[in-house]
């Protein structure tokens, strides 16, 4: 029986603030900092402490909410989510429940079936928990708690169950991550846990409108884990339904090591979080003026930019995706392909995605570390396109530019790298090569056609690599042909 897969994603993103959500402790990288060295009475949940909201966290949350086209509440409430766990110092998490910061947004994604809109149910602010590390030492089993991460601002985005395939889920997750990075809200570094996913998966008979029972899978810390977990769950649910059984609503964790889900019974009892409005915080006021300012300052968003690059520059989707992956690259390309530089966008794309990216990969830096302006690169591309230098030379010139900081024209002039296209000169070189290699010439004339490439190489070598390849080929063909006669 054909089933339709229905997926909703919940994304938790750490916001790139300098201090925590409710206290002034520095936000540190919990994988680097020594344990419990970025804590204070507030994030330790000591008796008598009170939370104070970080303005920058609200600002970043607003950017995301408005970028997702949400309705932002002029007044929203923080709420306590009560449960017991060692990584939760107060025994409750300050989150938002009944009146969140924003609702009813949308994120367009480009799938194999074209553009789809994924609806965003809500976006809200909360604080992160600490880190619990399980230790097994022989027969001894225990856990250690580091509270450096406790209190770091988190933004939670919940989608409607609008996703219909694993691929869609992946595209959505990547798109949301790109948006979060683009507006400067989150680093998006999944290895450091800056973004975490939870998937809600259900199946229903194809054509049905009703939602099936959903299973929640937590602890998905990479795209790969997300895809594997969803596929695994779809397979399990299909099998259950095929056999005439019913899917049980449950919450599962994902074990990346063993590629399987496991039951999270320990948190099941915590289903009733006994939410109530946080009495220690007044309603969060976000007025129209603030919203308008944030909206006006939003950068071009990744999806819109992707569409623009494809249409404006006539680029294939793969190239456009690579060029718009981060704001710096896209901005560089917009400059590079600007009309005043006089180079074709496709050529610009080839150079940027090819030679320049290769250099960046090697040096390990981002676009910001590139010691080459768009204008400078454009000059080189023009000189290659107009035949002043051939392609291999141009690549060498680029390397030289990146190393020395000199301009293309300057390097070509100083080192006399101009491509030789003079017919007479080339004719002379070809003649010389054929003369000096009578043995090979004889072999060619008696049938070894492939030697034409060897002659080509010799001419290029004699020319110091600077000869116009097309002219060489043409001349070589002409002279060889005349020898045959």
């Amino acid at each position: 029986m054909p089933y339709q897969v229905v997926i909703g994603l919940e994304v938790h993103a750490e916001l790139q603030t300098r201090s925590k959500m409710f206290c002034a402790c520095a936000v540190v990288d919990p994988t680097q900092a020594a344990p419990n060295t970025a804590v204070c009475p507030i994030c330790l949940g000591m008796p008598g402490v009170l939370p104070v909201v970080n303005q920058a966290a609200v600002e970043l949350a607003l950017r995301v909410a408005l970028a997702l086209d949400c309705q932002v509440a002029a007044s929203s409430l923080f709420a306590r989510k009560n449960y017991f766990y060692p990584d939760l110092p107060k025994g409750y998490q300050i989150s938002q429940y009944e009146q969140p910061l924003a609702v009813n947004g949308r994120l367009p994604i480009l799938t194999s079936q074209g553009e789809r809109i994924v609806r965003i149910r809500r976006v809200h602010l909360e604080e992160d928990t600490g880190k619990l590390t399980h230790i097994q030492r022989g027969a001894e089993s225990y856990s250690l708690v580091d509270l450096n991460r406790a209190g770091i601002p988190l933004l939670e985005e919940v989608s409607e169950p609008d996703l219909r395939s694993v691929e869609d889920a992946r595209t959505y997750a990547e798109g949301l991550r790109a948006l979060l990075r683009r507006v400067g809200a989150s680093s998006g570094d999944m290895e450091k846990g800056a973004i975490r996913f939870e998937a809600n998966v259900s199946l229903r008979p194809a054509g049905s409108d009703e939602l099936g029972t959903r299973v929640e899978i937590k602890n998905l810390n990479s795209f790969r884990a997300m895809e594997s977990a969803i596929r695994d769950q779809v397979a399990r649910q299909s099998a259950t339904l095929d056999a005439g059984g019913q899917v049980q609503q449950e919450t599962l964790g994902w074990d990346d090591l063993n590629n399987t889900t496991f039951s999270q019974r320990s948190k099941e009892e915590a289903h009733d979080y006994r939410y109530f409005p946080e009495p220690d915080l007044p309603p969060l006021a976000v007025d129209d003026v603030w919203q308008a300012r944030v909206r006006a300052a939003l950068p071009e968003l990744p999806h819109a930019q992707l569409q623009r690059f494809m249409t404006q520059y006539d680029l294939p989707e793969t190239d456009a995706r690579l060029l718009t992956e981060d704001a710096a690259t896209a901005a560089y390309f917009d400059h590079l392909a600007a009309p005043q530089h006089g180079i074709a966008p496709r050529a610009a794309a080839n150079w940027l995605l090819g030679e320049v990216f290769a250099w960046l990969n090697q040096t390990g830096g981002g676009m910001g570390s590139l010691p080459l302006t768009p204008a400078g690169l454009a000059e080189l591309v023009r000189l290659q396109e107009d035949g002043t230098v051939n392609l291999p030379t141009a690549k060498r010139v680029l390397a030289s530019m990146l190393e020395s900081g000199r301009g293309a024209g300057e390097i070509i002039a100083q080192e006399g790298l101009s491509q030789v296209s003079d017919g007479e000169l080339i004719a002379g070189l070809v003649h010389q090569v054929l003369d000096e290699h009578s043995h090979e010439l004889a072999a060619y004339l008696s049938g070894k056609d492939t030697l034409v490439n060897w002659f080509f190489g010799q001419v290029m070598r004699l020319a110091g690599g600077k000869a116009n390849p097309a002219v060489v080929r043409q001349e070589l063909e002409r002279q060889l042909h005349s020898k045959k006669a």
């Binding site: 009475p41 330790l44 949940g45 000591m46 008796p47 008598g48 402490v49 009170l50 939370p51 104070v52 909201v53 306590r80 009560n82 017991f84 060692p86 110092p89 107060k90 025994g91 409750y92 856990s143 708690v145 509270l147 009733d272 006994r274 109530f276 009495p279 220690d280 915080l281 007044p282």
Partner: protein, 524 residues
């Protein structure tokens, strides 16, 4: 005796270099030595006959620390610098506030060894104003109670007027200390009357400011939307001066009011001429459901209590105030049930953090399972009253009951507040400036009696808790002695941020009646 002088008088003498801070301190320490007996501990053993004659206000005495503070004040005076508005005033701190480097116990085993790394904002402000902190005084465990008896630190505090009686609660240690001359001032908290009721029982002045007027940072939380830190003192001027020092916005408390602090002393002697002071029939009786059939019945307050308030009304009338009778406050009867629900939801949540992981008591029994660690530590660390409140709070905030209990209580709270809004509304032709009521339906009851069947004791908070729901301020001032020789208190209630008016009216009554409750102590 220096320790019996008003705080403002001590500061005056100090600044006039007629006495030193160290002398004031030593005198207070001598008084403590004479009257307090042993401080409360977790392992009191038997309560002796001697114990039963002492006040036992203290959990932790901080004599050395206070000496250093006194020395600093004396140094400042010697150097010609301003030592502060509370300079030299010996004060006690209800042990529900954190004081850095000193145990902050909340009168609970679960925090018996907790040394806070920071001090509560009101404490910091008092210390910066030159006050000498004598130590932490006793209270009902986590402030749950109205007699201080539920403290895990025994012997618990006794009423200095009659040590067979309770001092009230939860700020019992504060009120008793002030009454007995162990410090001139005390910092307490009022969540349902826990400053005003013990103040009335011990014959001192006690004030609950407007919610948000004084920072809650460093106040170990009980009912977060109800808790108010406030002053206890032996006279109105001292209470006003202390409020002046502790009031005001604190960036560490997002619920602290962003509103300038008035000068509470400037108009203190201004009198009550032309003020409209109201009396409400709803405050002269206890309205409660008949256990037999659930119908509301009313029990009038004891004649003596009512008489004290009426006498006060006469005093005010003679001072030129207009007395407005029959002010309706119809939702008063719902104060306690709404309080039960709201405060316990918040309390249960506020007590989640006591889990034996980061600080506080952890069960010494070896544990192999985290859940067992929680269960045992909390069971052994909490006393009966916190457990009861936690269980109740969990129940009424559970998803399936929340609408029925918690949501509904929040709406009833709006109704309670509307009684106050209506009474003080300038558009109301019968509007009043202040409401005059009894503070409590009884005088201090005997030790051990609070958990009995008396309606008056069960519903005692009915007269004080409405102001906590409404967020409005109130204070209790001594109004003489009852026939049983115990102090009586009368209460003044005002609109939001009307502390200056309340203090002015209280001062007028005090001046007119010149009552000196501390005389009662000297009788011993």
């Amino acid at each position: 005796m220096l320790c019996d002088l008003p705080a403002h008088e001590l500061t005056r003498l100090l600044k006039a270099r007629q006495v030193s801070a160290l002398e004031i301190l030593e005198d207070s320490l001598k008084r403590i030595d004479q009257v307090d007996g042993r401080p409360g501990t977790l392992t009191p053993g038997e309560i002796t006959a001697e114990d039963q004659c002492k006040v036992h206000a203290f959990i932790t005495l901080t004599a050395e620390r206070a000496r250093a503070q006194a020395q600093a004040v004396d140094d400042k005076i010697a150097a010609g610098e301003d030592p502060g508005a509370l300079a030299g005033a010996p004060v006690t701190i209800k042990d529900i506030f954190t004081v850095a480097g000193v145990p902050s116990t909340a009168a609970s085993r679960i925090l018996a060894n907790f040394i806070a790394p920071y001090s509560a904002t009101p404490v910091v402000r008092m210390e910066q104003a030159g006050a000498l902190v004598l130590g932490k005084v006793n209270l009902d465990e986590f402030t749950y109670g109205s007699s201080t008896e539920s403290s895990a630190f025994q012997p618990s505090t006794r009423n200095p007027w009659n040590t067979e009686r309770v001092p009230g609660g939860s700020s019992g240690g504060s009120a008793a200390a002030v009454a007995a001359g162990e410090g001139a001032l005390s910092l307490g908290t009022d969540t349902a009357g826990s400053i005003r009721q013990p103040a009335a029982f011990c014959g001192v002045v006690g004030m609950k400011p407007t919610y948000g007027r004084v920072s809650r940072y460093g106040l170990i939380a009980f009912g977060s939307s109800l808790d108010c830190p406030g002053p206890l003192a032996r006279n109105v001027r001292d209470a006003a001066q202390m409020l002046q020092v502790i009031a005001g916005r604190d960036r560490r408390d997002s619920t602290s009011a962003n509103r300038p602090v008035e000068d509470y002393l400037a108009g203190l002697e201004g009198g009550v001429k032309g003020l409209r002071i109201g009396l409400s029939p709803d405050y002269f009786r206890i309205t409660f459901p008949d256990p037999a059939n659930g119908e509301y019945i009313q029990q009038p307050l004891p004649q003596e209590i009512e008489a004290a308030v009426l006498r006060a009304a006469q005093v005010y009338a003679s001072l030129g105030a207009e007395i407005v009778e029959d002010v309706p406050m119809p939702n008063t009867r719902y104060g306690i049930p709404a309080y039960f629900v709201i405060s316990r939801v918040e309390a249960a949540s506020n007590l989640h953090r006591y889990d034996g992981v980061k600080y506080g008591y952890r069960t010494p029994k070896p544990q192999t399972d985290l859940r067992q660690l929680y269960r045992a530590s909390r069971a052994e660390g909490f006393g009966r009253q916190p457990k009861l409140r936690i269980l109740m709070g969990m129940y009424v905030s559970a998803a399936q009951y929340s609408a029925q209990y918690y949501q509904r209580a929040l709406r009833v709270r709006t109704l309670i507040r509307s009684d106050f809004e209506q009474a003080f509304d300038s558009a109301n032709p019968r509007r009043i400036d202040l409401l005059l009521t009894p503070t409590t339906p009884t005088t201090a009851f005997p030790m051990g009696a609070v958990y009995g069947d008396s309606v008056l004791m069960q519903y005692a908070d009915q007269l004080t808790v409405p102001a906590n729901h409404a967020g409005t301020p109130g204070l209790s001032i001594p109004a003489g002695l009852a026939a049983d020789g115990l102090p009586l208190g009368i209460q003044l209630l005002g609109a939001d941020f009307s502390e200056a008016l309340l203090l002015r009216a209280a001062r007028a009554y005090e001046a007119a009646t010149a009552s000196q409750p501390s005389e009662g102590y000297k009788k011993k």
